[in-house]
């Protein structure tokens, strides 16, 4: 961290997650992440932004280690959670340690009721029925709609309800950190707002840290504290959310406030990236 940044952040909070220069290869040949580094402070909300195919989901999956089931592999770099190296752990171990992923496209269990979906989220817990029941109540308080639909099969609920179900299910594992992949996907703007409000509330009251991948840069940067912009498997820009929101290039390419006819972020920012990697 530079001196200027340190000055901005007088009491640098403890990091819950550090990803250090990871490289990811699918099927032994397809190089997708080409050295990604990022940090999430304890109790923070960090946004991972970028266009289709930039590598956002891949980054989240390498942290939760769902990558291996898709024939992907972290070949370089390291990932630390609460100071411990976690890149060799199974998703089961990671959930037990407090990292859980909400996958892109929600992936609720369609033939299970909403309540059964939530209860499966508590699979790894060993603290007994009453504790699980209490948390079920907590989830219903955050998502009153889920309480109404608790006996419906998840497959028959709306997209918004499914997204809530997926987040609620993750909460049931009592996570310290949630990796949230494109919560806004396919939802009406008002619903997106509602979901992000709840994320913020969970972050503040339950102390859950979030790393969220989003294409909806606008909403993500309003709720996150910090942002990373990914392009082609590399971080091309990062900074405080407020700073990123005011950045001319981010405005132009990701917030859709266009003025000139430039085609890609990379065309203009090449020098900046170069500097970053030489530094």
């Amino acid at each position: 961290m530079t001196e200027a940044a340190a000055a901005l952040n007088p009491a640098p909070s403890k990091l819950i997650l550090t990803v250090n220069n990871i490289e990811v290869i699918y099927d032994h040949v397809i190089l997708v992440l080409k050295g990604v580094s990022l940090e999430v402070p304890e109790g923070g909300i960090v946004a991972l932004l970028g266009a289709n195919g930039a590598g956002k989901s891949t980054t989240l999956k390498s942290i939760s280690n769902l990558l291996r089931a898709e024939r992907g592999e972290v070949t370089k770099g390291s990932i630390h959670f609460e100071g411990n190296q976690v890149d060799r752990l199974t998703p089961n171990d990671l959930v037990k340690q407090g990292v859980v992923q909400v996958m892109e496209g929600r992936h609720c269990f369609e033939h299970l009721t909403i309540e059964d979906n939530l209860l499966t989220g508590a699979y790894t817990r060993k603290d007994g029925r009453t504790a699980v029941q209490q948390d079920l109540d907590m989830v219903y308080n955050y998502f009153p709609r889920l309480r109404e639909r608790r006996l419906s099969l998840a497959g028959y609920t709306s997209g918004g309800e499914q997204q809530m179900c997926a987040i609620g299910r993750a909460l049931m594992s009592r996570p310290k950190m949630i990796l949230l992949d494109e919560p806004s996907m396919g939802l009406a703007p008002q619903l997106v707002e509602e979901i992000f409000e709840i994320v913020k509330k969970l972050n503040e009251t339950e102390g859950v840290s979030f790393l969220l991948a989003e294409q909806n840069t606008n909403v993500a940067l309003r709720y996150a504290d910090y942002g990373y912009i990914l392009e082609n498997g590399r971080v091309v820009l990062d900074g405080e959310a407020a700073t990123l929101r005011d950045n001319e290039d981010v405005k132009e390419f990701y917030l859709g406030v266009s003025s000139a006819g430039r085609k890609s972020f990379r065309d203009v920012k090449h020098y900046k990236r170069r500097k970053r990697w030489l530094a």
Partner: protein
């Protein structure tokens, strides 16, 4: 319970007796202008009941397939040899002088060990491979279990007797002259089958592991994402399938002796699965009942018209016809599509 479920149950409650009555009248009609065709209502019902009870035995075997297919999408070709292996092992322990209940418990443990072995040595290394490769590997398991069981316990036909009465019984003397003849062994088998199904249903719906099993069956990636370990689930499923195979093996073994042909009754489970759907436990039951009863009725009443045994192929014909009209089976998992 919702409206469509009630409509479903109502449909079955009216539909099934209707189909049976229609069949009866059709046979009666046939008999009235064909002298080589014998028909009497008590006899018809007797055959029907015998067929239904036989069907329960088919369901027992089909159940093992459904469990594994549901949780992992693998068609387990080895299910038949698991039935044989379990029965052989159980007989082996009984021959050592153990009481059958103890032999049963030990064999159940052996089947759990077989499940662990299959997960470690076959499934785990092949995970993420296409389903056809996993299917091929179950063919390998079929021949291994088949041969290994016979190496361990010998290959001669064995008698398995755990004291189930085999005497014929007469029931309903008030209704029909002379009553109806029912095989008490088949009746016991039906009760055992029902108990097993209820136990499985309770396990699936009300336990943590059972819920996890259904979750894995629905979306194994999502199940992994919330920390459900697939390996554990596979071991549980294969163990459950092993115990189901053991029960099927005991029932079939005490009826027909423990021998290689036990492994082949798995083939009879195929039409049951086509009818009931590969992913449905109720489907395996109803499918078994339909196949069992229609096969018996066809053999007894239509057989003479064809001049011989049609039992061996009738079930497959029925399944084939059925496949044309409803390829997902009677109870195949509904593909949820929101509109």
């Amino acid at each position: 319970m919702n409206a469509s479920a009630i409509r479903n149950i109502g449909g079955w409650a009216i539909g099934v007796p209707l189909v049976i009555a229609l069949l009866g009248f059709a046979f009666q009609g046939l008999a009235s202008f064909n002298s080589s065709f014998f028909f009497a209502w008590p006899y018809f019902i007797e055959v029907l009941i015998a067929g239904l009870l036989q069907g329960v035995m088919y369901s027992l075997v089909a159940l093992g397939f459904v469990l594994i297919f549901k949780a992992s999408g693998i068609f387990n070709f080895a299910q038949g040899s698991m039935v044989l292996f379990a029965a052989l092992t159980m007989v082996g322990f009984i021959e050592m002088g153990l009481h059958w209940t103890i032999a049963f418990a030990i064999t159940a443990v052996v089947m759990a060990l077989v499940a662990v072995g299959i997960e470690r040595l076959v499934l785990r290394p092949l995970v993420n491979q296409p389903h056809i490769i996993l299917f091929m590997s179950t063919i390998g398991i079929f021949y291994f279990l088949d041969g290994f069981g016979q190496t361990l316990w010998g290959s001669d036909i064995k008698v398995l007797d755990i004291g189930i009465p085999k005497t014929p019984m007469f029931v309903g003397k008030g209704m029909f002259e002379g009553g109806l003849l029912i095989n008490s062994f088949d009746l016991v088998a039906a009760f055992v089958g029902a108990a097993l199904v209820i136990a499985l249903a309770v396990f699936f719906h009300y336990t943590r592991i059972g819920r996890a099993l259904r979750a894995v069956a629905d979306d194994h990636q999502a199940a992994m994402s919330i920390g459900i370990p697939l390996k554990t689930i596979w071991v549980v499923v294969w163990t459950a399938a092993g115990v189901v195979a053991l029960v099927a093996g005991i029932m079939w073994g005490s009826k027909a002796g423990v021998q290689f042909s036990l492994a082949l009754i798995a083939l009879k489970a195929l039409p049951v699965l086509i009818l009931g759907g590969f992913t449905s436990i109720p489907g395996a039951i109803v499918g078994g009942l339909i196949i069992g009863s229609s096969e018996q009725l066809a053999e007894v009443f239509l057989g003479p018209l064809f001049g011989g045994a049609i039992q061996d192929w009738f079930a497959y014909m029925l399944a084939l016809v059925f496949l044309l009209f409803r390829p997902q089976g009677l109870f195949g998992e509904k593909i949820i599509e929101r509109i």
